[in-house]
């Protein structure tokens, strides 16, 4: 499926306009980048146009994982690091539901690292929105796996000793079939990336540079703006090698490439299972299948 829907370019103005935002007011700190993510997802969903009861937002634990409570959809605020595993189970059990996962960089790449790896390679049809603030917000300012080498935080008084993980590189090498990066300082771009991710059939990973103004004040919107560049016009996101080169270059030159890094179309896990089911079904007898199955034990 390719992107055919056009994005509204400004905040919805008509009060009658449908919104997916919940009645509960978001409780993030004033200026937190996650507000932009919430607004952008609302806009993307308006363009996407599915009824709210057919959408479920699954998250882990963290400031960014509070997301489901601020949306008027089905929501599952699970436990720290497990959002992708919960989302995978839900999507495989209920393939007709649009399942979106959200969370922070710690949730995704530290405690949830194992699930992240396997969710990327499974190509389950999920949209994963990672709010990357390079710090642990909810627990008040410890180092994250994305924190830059040497960054001083509450848990790294002498600076971190470990080089960071690049979420985009991780997703790319682990097998996600849609990878984009966007930032809170460009809400239109963010909404556009979300919509493209929602429309992609397969694992869509969108890394959002979403500042924590309270515990990582040095990396605010201005910082991310100054350190990012749009993906070059001539970048072909369907060329996997080009995507690898692009991300490597960005790492070397210390900037965040914004835009669609990579996209490819491959059967989803559900597609592959569907094929097997069909084969088995044509082979299966007409009779009650369980009663047939039981015969193997007699």
């Amino acid at each position: 499926m390719s992107s055919t829907t056009t994005m509204p370019t400004s905040e919805p103005s008509k009060p009658s306009r449908k919104t997916y935002k919940g009645s509960e007011r978001a409780t993030w700190c004033a200026g937190c980048g996650d507000y932009s993510v919430l607004a952008a997802l609302d806009r993307a969903l308006i363009a996407y146009g599915r009824p709210e009861e057919e959408i479920t937002i699954v998250s882990g634990i963290g400031c960014s994982s509070r997301f489901p409570f601020f949306m008027n959809t089905y929501g599952f605020h699970s436990v720290h690091g497990r959002a992708l595993a919960v989302a995978t189970g839900l999507k495989l059990a209920r393939p007709e539901i649009t399942v979106i996962a959200t969370g922070g960089d710690g949730d995704a790449l530290a405690i949830g690292g194992n699930h992240f790896f396997h969710a990327m390679r499974r190509n389950v049809d999920l949209t994963y929105i990672l709010m990357d603030n390079q710090i642990y917000g909810m627990t008040k300012g410890q180092a994250a796996p994305t924190s830059e080498l040497g960054m001083k935080t509450k848990s790294t008084p002498y600076g971190t000793f470990e080089p960071p993980v690049d979420p985009v590189w991780a997703a790319l090498t682990m097998g996600a079939t849609f990878i984009a990066q966007t930032a809170s300082h460009d809400p239109n771009h963010m909404a556009e990336m979300f919509l493209r991710g929602l429309e992609h059939r397969g694992m869509s990973f969108i890394n959002c540079l979403s500042p924590c103004v309270t515990f990582n004040a040095g990396m605010d919107r201005e910082y991310f703006k100054a350190h990012s560049r749009p993906v070059p016009e001539d970048h072909d996101p369907t060329d996997y090698d080009a995507a690898l080169r692009l991300v490597r270059e960005a790492q070397r030159e210390h900037y965040f490439p914004l835009g669609i890094i990579h996209v490819r179309h491959e059967p989803t896990l559900a597609d592959r299972v569907g094929e097997i089911r069909e084969k088995l079904h044509t082979a299966a007898q007409q009779k009650n299948e369980i009663e047939e199955i039981v015969k193997e034990f007699v």
């Binding site: 057919e54 634990i61 089905y74 495989l92 699930h115 299966a284 039981v294 034990f297």
Partner: protein
């Protein structure tokens, strides 16, 4: 055992390359087809390959409770098998073995011996020495006069996947062995008895029965991570679930396994995962989530000997406390322990039903010996099985506004909503929440929600009251026995034997271990028993400790002494060991009057 019950115990033993398991299966399958009740047990000394392998099959004309004690017939394929078993061979037993070049002097005089060159039969009839195990099984079947056609069918099925030539070769080996055996049938005459009826019985392992139970109960999503001795559950379901529109997904670990099941459960699909102790340890976090979010899910723990990696292929009942109490904070949950392969089927169905009826996590506590043992069960009548189907909140007729965690007098859950149902949207998760599912830490709300979860346990206990919880046998004795899981039927067999000797012991063997079946246990403790034996396979007497904690008053008031019979050596109890435990105590602590 019923008093006029006949049974025969055959032990197959040899080197890991001898095809011992195939022999045992061939014998067991043939007997089950013919209508015998069958009970098998096997051990592997080495984890993967090499070493001595034992397969014991006991057949009977009535339901069996244990694998039996020492064998009536020993089929020994190597010298070591003879040496290992000889000292304990009972009177009148028979040893069937190939020539070892010399006499086996250690075989006691009270046992008879039949030496047959299985290898020669296999080489001349099947063209390969590899069929010697089938030839030996043929000899055994011929000795006992079990139907040859039925055995040939079983051979075909066993070897079909290896190609028609191999199947034919093995058939030939079987037939020739059978003829040889038939010539010597006089020495086995005392072991020949017919089955009660000729109904072909299902022969399956505990793991297969759990998986079949899940499928029958409507489980359509299973996520799991391989672990001995539970893997066969996921493997069997991997093959079957797609046939009924479901799916088995091999997760990256046990945390993900349960998390995926919880996600699927949120979506309204019946789910299950299966693991062993190490996996259950990892799942505890997610078990708490299921309890907090009130999502139905079934976790099967096929216990093995811990702690840590312990002895992966060995039997133990050491996870009871983890299953019943493991969680930070307090959640409603049910723990059910099947005792037999038939239970593995019916109690798994019950577990799935209970999970959905009460919207809680349910743990099924199986164990290694139960999981790999094969036992006959009567084919289930699928039309008569009770399968609970959850009714979801209906936007047309359901109460409004929709409250996922609506307060109820009796603590019972109200119908939940699942994605796709309009106007039923709610947010759930691990945070404390109010009736709508929104986070709420207000003390009054917290109080209501804690009470809600506790009331759920009370409601469950009430609901279980009327149902059969366990065997309850042996009225009017001063001696009592409680046991659980795979140990329970072995204990029951011990008691049946003691009964024949005039020692009556009253037994209560509950399936549901948590919540503890209060009414049943209380009336049991008030029935006049003074000594309560509790055999279980762990070192710290976990069930006995739970009983002490919950029934202190009843135990004190009725002056009951709890006598734990424990062992944790990696092997199941034999009836003789439980008998020994009981007698040890009686000898030291009671006069002979207690025995009356």
């Amino acid at each position: 055992m019923e008093s006029d019950q006949k049974s025969l115990t055959v032990r197959f033993e040899g080197d890991s390359g001898d095809g011992i398991i195939s022999m045992g299966r061939l014998f067991a399958r043939t007997a089950a087809r013919l209508g015998y009740q069958v009970y098998t047990f096997s051990t592997f000394l080495a984890v993967v390959r090499g070493g001595q392998v034992t397969f014991q099959a006991r057949i009977s004309d009535a339901p069996l409770l244990s694998q039996g004690n020492e064998p009536d017939i020993l089929v020994a394929l190597n010298r070591q098998a003879v040496a290992d078993n000889a000292p304990r061979l009972p009177k009148g037993s028979l040893v069937l073995h190939p020539p070892f070049g010399g006499r086996c002097d250690e075989i006691p005089a009270h046992a008879s011996v039949l030496e047959v060159n299985f290898k020669e039969i296999a080489e001349s009839e099947a063209g390969t020495a590899r069929s010697k195990n089938v030839a030996a099984t043929g000899v055994l079947l011929g000795l006992l006069g079990l139907d040859l056609d039925t055995a040939e069918e079983a051979v075909d099925e066993l070897f079909r996947s290896k190609g028609p030539d191999i199947a034919i070769a093995n058939r030939n080996a079987l037939r020739a062995g059978y003829e040889e055996g038939a010539r010597h049938c006089a020495i086995a005459q005392s072991w020949v008895f017919p089955p009660k009826d000729r109904m072909a019985r299902m022969l399956l392992s505990g793991n297969e029965a759990v998986a079949l139970g899940a499928l029958t109960a409507g489980v359509r999503f299973f996520a799991g991570y391989p672990i001995t001795p539970a893997s066969e559950i996921m493997e069997w379901l991997a093959a079957q679930l797609p046939k009924v529109g479901g799916l088995m997904l091999q997760a990256e670990d046990e945390i993900a396994s349960l998390a995926m099941c919880i996600g699927a459960s949120y979506g309204g699909v019946k789910t299950m995962t299966a693991t062993s102790g190490p996996g259950l340890s990892l799942m505890i976090e997610l078990l708490g989530l299921a309890g907090m979010a009130e999502l139905p899910v079934v976790v099967v723990d096929v216990q093995r000997a811990g702690p840590s990696t312990g002895m992966p292929t060995k039997e133990a009942q050491g996870d009871l406390v983890l299953a019943a109490y493991g969680s930070h904070g307090e959640i409603p949950r049910v723990v059910i322990a099947p005792q037999t392969v038939a239970d593995c089927f019916t109690q798994t169905i019950r577990a799935v039903n209970v999970a959905h009826q009460f919207q809680i996590p349910v743990i099924v506590l199986s164990s290694q010996s139960l999981s790999h043992r094969m036992q006959t069960i009567d084919p289930p009548d699928f039309d008569k099985l009770e399968i609970y189907e959850e009714k979801f909140w209906d936007p047309a007729s359901g109460p409004r506004p929709f409250q996922r965690y609506a307060d109820t007098e009796d603590g019972m859950p109200t119908p939940r909503s699942v994605p796709g149902i309009p106007e039923g949207m709610y947010r759930c998760g691990g945070l404390e929440h109010n009736e709508f599912g929104n986070p709420d830490f207000a003390p009054v709300v917290r109080k209501r929600m804690v009470a809600r979860r506790l009331k759920r346990m009370a409601a469950i206990a009430r609901a279980f009251r009327g149902t059969t919880l366990a065997y309850d046998v042996g009225n009017g004795s001063k001696l009592g026995l409680m046991s659980w899981g795979a140990t329970a039927p072995v204990a029951l067999e011990t008691l049946n034997e003691l009964e024949k000797e005039g020692i009556t012991i009253r037994a209560l063997l509950p399936h549901v271990l948590w919540p503890m079946p209060e009414m049943a246990i209380r009336s049991f403790l008030q029935s006049g028993i003074k000594t309560l034996f509790i055999p279980e396979l762990n070192a710290t007497a976990q069930f006995a400790e739970m009983l002490r904690a919950h029934f202190t008053k009843e135990l004190l008031e009725n002056n009951i002494e709890v006598v734990s019979i424990t062992k944790d050596d990696g092997l199941p109890f034999s009836p003789a060991e439980i008998r020994e435990g009981i007698f040890q105590h009686l000898k030291h602590h009671c006069g002979p009057e207690v025995l009356r």
